[in-house]
Symmetry: none
Subunit: 217 residues, 4 copies
DNA sequence: TATGAATGAGGCTTCATTCAT
DNA sequence: AATGAATGAAGCCTCATTCAT
């Protein structure tokens, strides 16, 4: 193994550790409130020194943003993997499935983003986050537009559909983590099927018609 | 003015200041992240000493809960004021209008509640909060039930309707405070009318039918 | 009732309240650590306002000293009441009985005195405390001297006897409140009779003589 | 020097600083009332930052207990160093000499222990303190028992002798730190020899016998 | 005179970040 | 590069004392 190889290996190790730190941080943030998780806690959980964290990230807040970016990139990966000739709906379905998969995680990211929004020193990363998200949303818009053209969705600005769906998902997540409603919703499965049904139909033009037809039988 | 009157006046002044502190705290919490607002900041803003805050509240966290309770009580007041012979829908409409009126405030309360949930020393107040909320929800359920009986709403457990609407409102609020979407939704008014429309129709039985009928023409 | 009488009555009431405050403070200091007892706690327990305390005493520390003085005065009263033709031993016995009567109280006073010792603003009161105590000790010395003259006590400076007894009593009190020894001394009654026995005999001349005789063998 | 050595050195330095903090704290506690000594005062006196204190101890109270433990361990060391074939009395003598060596220190520890007794979070350390003390007392009991067997001490439970001596030492310490008696005892050396004499003879069997004989006359 | 709301100095503790090894 | 001891700003809270009513 020559010097270059060695160096490459080292870089790889370094990157790997970076991911490990982020993974661990995420896990801890989900378990406890992120304010209660100290940098030392993370370092201990990873099994490295506290100082090492700062070789990878300039601040705790940077960890927040990088987690956000990683999340958005993961989503981008999912969207990218879907073939253009797939059922158009699949894209949308995957998108929301991903977002709903782990409500607590999503809620965490929501908080983290709010926390980072102000910080001037993170603006570069925040920008990047927005770029990725923009691109993800663009992908979705393309699909939405196609469906509108097909007459399958109400002819409103595409972002109406996306934002409405986003809001519903966000709302559902909030509901899940709400101390109060958590206890009140007895038939959780039934409820979410009710909600999802509503979400799908939300801007759906043809579906509404179908429902009618169905009911007339 | 006799002694009793004087004492009453004093108590009134005290309560007034309490409200002033809560008002100021709320204002500051909305302006900055509540973690960045120190007790001293609040005291300074009110124009009183730090110690005075602790004559009214036992901890910063108690301020959080009392703010939550005040919010829920305000809502209760609105619900109570509606006459029984009012249009049944008005109750529901008022409820969501109230919640949507100041999304940032609502988002804040969401965070605050999560922060207080753990604290054992606040359990008494948290309980009271839940009681008020329960009573508010009960009121709504009554209306929902009536509408279901009238055949105007889908016959699912009433809390399906409430929770679904809650989720939508929560989602909309989240959307509003989201750094990213905030910039993307150009026609905000249009969008929210679209969303509200969806919300109202969500569990609406007759509407669905009507739409169908309409489309069959 | 004329003005003078009224004023006298008022003064009486005032003095009475002063005693009530001191009584209550003492009770609370004994129940909890005196540092944990706030001036407000005392006022509440007495059923008066916090400010009123400061009409009677200039500071919390003054309460400490006044309690000390009251204690020493109480002792003086006991010593005074003993007739000069009483059994000489009775004086000594009463003195130590008084001090030992409530070990916790005694231990408290010990702490309080240490706390006040430094405070310059209390020096006047501290002086008075010392005066009373001096007079009490003088009385004892008189008795001790008489017993020495009778040849019943070892002919050492009288304060040797007093201080030695004081130390033993103080030690016994300390023992009583010691967390550790408290559990170890099973036969408490037996032990204290053993200890008292030793104390009484401590400077007892006749015993020393016996020892001498023994040693001469 | 390899890594292991370095690490060992580091740990040593760390421990050394820990001792330095404890030493300084003790010194300050003795100079002023421990309540007047703030954590910052200690840090400043040591020449380190306030936060560093908390790398070594979890709270100010923990410093109290560790000081107590150190004191008791020091005593254990002294007792251990005494050879079994030494004069049996030496153990007892050393024990009380140690305790009497620095009355102010002893009085301080007495206060500290009382202060920590309640604190639940210190229970583990308090337990350890009691263990050490128990073992120290056990050693003494062994000696006392032997002396009782030899007929040199009165045949009462061994803890009678220990506790009585403890009380006397405690009393003497109290006397020393008493503002009033401090000034009154002119011939301190003479007095303490008088007191010690009494202490040593306290449970001394041969003397009791004589007394009995005398009383039979 | 009695009151109790207001005060603010001051204490303890936390933790993100730095830096010498 | 990795470490972890050291740092100190900053936060929360307490309570003796004051003072206007």
């Amino acid at each position: 193994m020559d010097g270059l190889e060695k160096a490459t290996l080292r870089v790889k190790e370094f990157r790997k550790r970076e991911q490990l730190i982020l993974d661990t941080a995420l896990k801890l943030f989900l378990e406890q409130d992120e304010d209660k998780v100290t940098v030392e806690t993370i370092a201990d959980a990873v099994g490295i020194g506290k100082g090492t964290i700062y070789k990878h990230f300039t601040s705790k807040q940077e960890i927040y943003v990088l987690l956000l970016i990683r999340y958005e990139e993961e989503l981008a990966g999912i969207l990218q993997n879907i073939q253009p000739d797939d059922d158009k709906d699949r894209l949308v379905r995957e998108y929301f499935q991903f977002r709903m998969a782990d409500p607590a995680r999503y809620a965490l990211f929501d908080r983290l983003e709010k926390k980072c929004a102000q910080d001037e020193s993170l603006s570069r990363l925040i920008e990047r986050l927005h770029e990725i998200r923009e691109s993800n949303v663009d992908q979705l818009e393309t699909v939405i537009k196609a469906r509108i053209a097909e007459g399958k969705l109400a002819d409103v600005p595409p972002y109406f559909h996306i934002a409405a769906a986003w809001a519903l998902v966000h709302g559902a997540v909030g509901l899940c983590s709400s101390e109060f409603y958590k206890d009140r919703i007895e038939d959780k499965e039934g409820f979410f099927s009710f909600l999802m049904d509503a979400a799908v139909k939300m801007g759906n033009r043809s579906r509404l018609k179908n429902v009618d037809e169905q009911e007339m039988e």
